[in-house]
Amino acid sequence: MNNTLLSFTIAILFGFGTFLILRRDIIKVIIGLGVLSHAVNMLIVSVGVFTGTKVPIILGSHGEHGASGASGTIFNDALADGVLAPVVAAGTHIDYVDPLVQALVLTAIVISLATTAFILILAYRIHEEYGTTDLRELRRLWG
C-alpha cells in the first residue's frame, strides 16, 4: 500500500513537471525542472527501501584496504546465491533503509539547487535583454 502510494506520487510529480516544462513561460519551465528533479529525488530514495535480508550495509569495522576479509571488514556479496546487493549474514531479519541512497539524494539535491540558482539568474538576464519571459520571443538563433 505504502509503496503504491509512493509510486503514484512519483508518477504524478513526473507528469506535472513534464507538463510544466512544455509551457511557454520561462519561470514555469524552471518550476517544472524543479518539480522533475524532486520527482527524481523521491525515486532515488524509494530505491533504498529494503525488507528482509537484502540490506546493503557493511558489517564490521572500517578496513585498511577495502574488500579483504582478513582485516575484519566483511563485504558479504553473495553473487553465487543470486543476491546482488551486499547483505548481512543470513538469519537476521531486519527492516532497513539503504544509507547510500540518502547520500546520493543529498548530492542530487545540492546539485539541483546550484543549477536552479544559475538558471534563475539566467532567466532574469534574459528578461533584461529581451523584455519578456515568453519563450516564443527567444528565436534569434535557429538550432
Partner: protein, 513 residues
C-alpha cells in the same frame, strides 16, 4: 616525491578545484592570477603525461578515495581515461593561454579563471572516476562551469549578449533534462544491482546475463544512457543545441566545447556499453549505427548552407561526432581504435579551427563569411592555419584527419559494414566541399567592400593568440605524417575497452595486468 606520484589521479581533480578557490581571492592581482593559472595548468599537463606513461608501463591504476573499496568512490586510470585526460589538459592549456589575450579584461579578471579551473576539474573527474554516480556529479560540475563560460565576453564583442543568454538557456535546460534522465537511469540501475561502481555493475550484469536472469529493465536503462550521453555528445535527434551554443561562446571556450567536452559523451558511451552493459551491445550497435549516419548527414548538409564561420565549424563538429560514433557502433577492436584516432585528430583540428576563427574575427570584426574575402593578403598566417585545419577535417593526406578517416573506412570495410561506410564516404566528400568553400570565401577573391564593411584590422595578432594555434597545427601535421605511436596507443586502448576483464580485476581484486 614517490608518494606524490602515487596520488596523481586525485591530484588531477583536486588541484583545479583548489585553484578555482584561489583564483577568486587573487582577482585584485590579475598578473599573478594569469601567471599562476598558466603555470599550474602546465604542471597538470606534465602530471597527466606522467600518468599516461605509468598506465602504459604498469597497467591500470586504481586510486581509492576514502579507502572504502568498491563501496566507496574509486578513481580508475586505464589507457582510455589517462589518454583522454592528457588530451583534455593539452587543449585546456592552449585555450587558456589563448584566452589571456582574447577574453575581455573584466570577464577575465573576475571569474573566468575560476570557472575554467572548474571546467578542467569536471572534465578530468568524469574521465577518471570509476563510479557512475560520481560521473553524474562531475557532469554537473562541467555543465555549470561551461554554461557560465559561454556567457563570458570576448574583446570587440561581435557576439551579442542576448544571443549568448538564449543559447545558454537552451543548453542548460536540455542538459538539466539530460541529468534528470541520468539520475533515473542510475536509480533504476542501483535498484537492480545494488551498486554504483562501474566494474561491480559489469560483473553483476554479466553474471545475470550468463545465468539467464537478466531483468528486462536493463534494456530501458541502457536506452536511457544512450539519451544522456547522446545529449552530451550531440548525437542526431539531440544535436540542435550545439550549433547555437558553440558559436556564441568565446573562441577559446568553443575550442574546449567542440574539442573536448562533446567527447565526454563518447567516453560515457564507451564506459557504459563496453564495460557495464556488455550484454546489450548488439542492441547498442543496431541503434547507434543509424543514429551516427543520420548525425553525419544532418551535420554535413546543414554546414553547407552556413554563412557564419563559427556556425559552420559547429555543424561540422556535429557531422564529425557522427563518424566517431560510427566506429563505436561497429564495435570491433580495430573500429574502436580507428574512432579513437579519429577522436584525437578531430579534437586537435577542431580546437585549432575554433581558435583560428577567433583570430579571423579579430581581424575582420565579423563572423559573417559574406562580409569577408581576400584576407590571404592581409592575414596570411590565419589563412594557412585555417587551410591546415580544413584539410585535416576534410581528410587530406598529409594531415591527421586523413589517417583517422582512412582507418575508420578500412576498419568498417574489414568488418563488412559496406552500406554505412558508403554513406559516410559520400558525406566525407561533402565535408571537403564545405570546408574549402568556407576557406575560399574568406581568404580568396576580392578584398571586401571597405566602404560598406570597413577596413580589416591592421593590428597584428599577439603571440599569445598565434602560438597555441601553431602548436595545434604542428600536432595535426605530426599526427598525419608520423601516426604510428598514436595508432599503437589507440589499438592498445581499444583492446582494453573491448575486453574489460583487466579493468574489472584491477578495481575489484587489485590484480594489475
Amino acid at each position: 616525491m614517490i608518494s606524490l606520484m602515487d596520488h596523481i589521479p586525485i591530484l588531477l581533480i583536486a588541484i583545479p578545484i583548489l585553484m578555482a578557490a584561489i583564483m577568486i581571492f587573487l582577482r585584485s592581482i590579475p598578473a599573478l592570477q594569469k601567471a599562476l593559472n598558466v603555470l599550474v595548468t602546465f604542471c597538470m599537463l606534465v602530471l597527466s603525461v606522467i600518468l599516461l606513461e605509468q598506465v602504459w608501463t604498469n597497467g591500470i591504476i586504481v586510486y581509492e578515495v576514502g579507502e572504502w573499496g568498491k563501496y566507496g568512490i574509486v578513481l580508475v586510470a586505464d589507457l582510455l581515461s589517462a589518454g583522454m585526460v592528457l588530451l583534455t589538459l593539452f587543449v585546456s592549456f592552449l585555450s587558456l593561454v589563448y584566452s589571456l589575450e582574447y577574453i575581455e579584461e573584466r570577464s577575465l579578471n573576475s571569474s573566468y579563471h575560476s570557472l575554467f579551473n572548474l571546467l578542467m576539474a569536471g572534465l578530468t573527474g568524469s574521465f577518471l572516476t570509476g563510479d557512475i554516480f560520481n560521473l553524474f556529479v562531475f557532469f554537473e560540475i562541467l555543465l555549470l562551469s561551461s554554461c557560465a563560460l559561454v556567457v563570458a565576453n570576448e574583446k570587440g564583442g561581435v557576439t551579442k549578449s542576448s544571443d549568448k543568454m538564449e543559447a545558454t538557456f537552451k543548453y542548460l535546460v536540455l542538459s538539466m533534462l539530460g541529468s534528470i534522465v541520468m539520475l533515473i537511469a542510475i536509480a533504476s540501475l542501483y535498484a537492480t544491482v545494488g551498486t554504483v561502481n562501474m566494474a561491480d555493475i559489469s560483473v553483476k550484469v554479466s553474471a545475470m546475463g550468463a545465468a539467464g536472469t537478466l531483468p528486462w529493465h536493463i534494456y530501458p536503462i541502457a536506452l536511457l544512457f544512450i539519451v544522456v550521453f547522446g545529449n552530451k555528445a550531440a548525437l542526431f535527434p539531440l544535436h540542435y543545441w550545439l550549433p547555437d551554443v558553440h558559436p556564441t561562446a568565446p573562441s577559446p571556450i568553443s575550442a574546449m566545447l567542440s574539442g573536448v567536452l562533446i567527447k565526454v559523451g563518447v567516453y560515457g558511451m564507451l564506459r557504459v556499453f563496453f564495460l557495464m552493459f556488455t550484454v546489450t551491445l548488439p542492441m547498442f550497435q543496431k541503434i547507434i549505427i543509424p543514429l551516427s549516419l543520420a548525425t553525419i548527414i544532418i551535420g554535413a548538409i546543414s554546414a553547407v548552407g552556413q554563412t557564419d564561420v563559427k556556425r559552420l565549424l559547429a555543424y561540422s563538429s556535429v557531422g564529425q561526432i557522427g563518424y566517431i560514433f560510427l566506429g563505436l557502433g561497429m564495435g570491433s577492436v580495430y573500429t574502436v581504435a580507428a574512432s579513437l584516432v579519429y577522436l584525437v585528430n578531430h579534437a586537435f583540428a577542431k580546437s585549432m579551427l575554433f581558435l583560428t576563427s577567433g583570430g579571423i574575427i579579430h581581424h575582420a570584426h565579423t563572423r559573417d563569411m559574406d562580409k569577408m574575402g581576400g584576407m590571404i593578403k592581409s592575414s596570411p598566417l590565419m589563412g594557412t592555419m585555417f587551410l591546415i585545419g580544413a584539410m585535416s577535417i576534410a581528410g587530406f593526406p598529409p594531415m591527421g584527419g586523413f589517417i583517422g578517416k582512412f582507418l575508420l573506412f578500412d576498419a568498417g570495410i574489414n568488418e563488412g559494414f559496406y552500406i554505412p561506410i558508403a554513406i559516410a564516404l559520400l558525406f566525407a566528400v561533402l565535408t571537403m566541399f564545405y570546408m574549402f568553400r568556407a576557406w575560399m570565401k574568406m581568404f580568396w577573391g576580392e578584398t571586401r567592400d571597405t566602404k560598406k564593411y570597413g577596413e580589416y584590422s591592421s593590428h597584428a595578432l599577439s603571440p599569445l593568440l598565434t602560438m597555441p594555434i601553431i602548436i595545434l597545427a604542428l600536432g595535426v601535421i605530426v599526427f598525419g605524417v608520423y601516426a604510428e605511436p598514436l595508432i599503437a596507443l589507440a589499438q592498445a586502448t581499444a583492446a582494453q575497452i573491448i575486453d574489460p576483464q583487466p579493468y574489472i580485476d584491477a578495481v575489484l581484486t587489485r590484480v594489475v595486468r
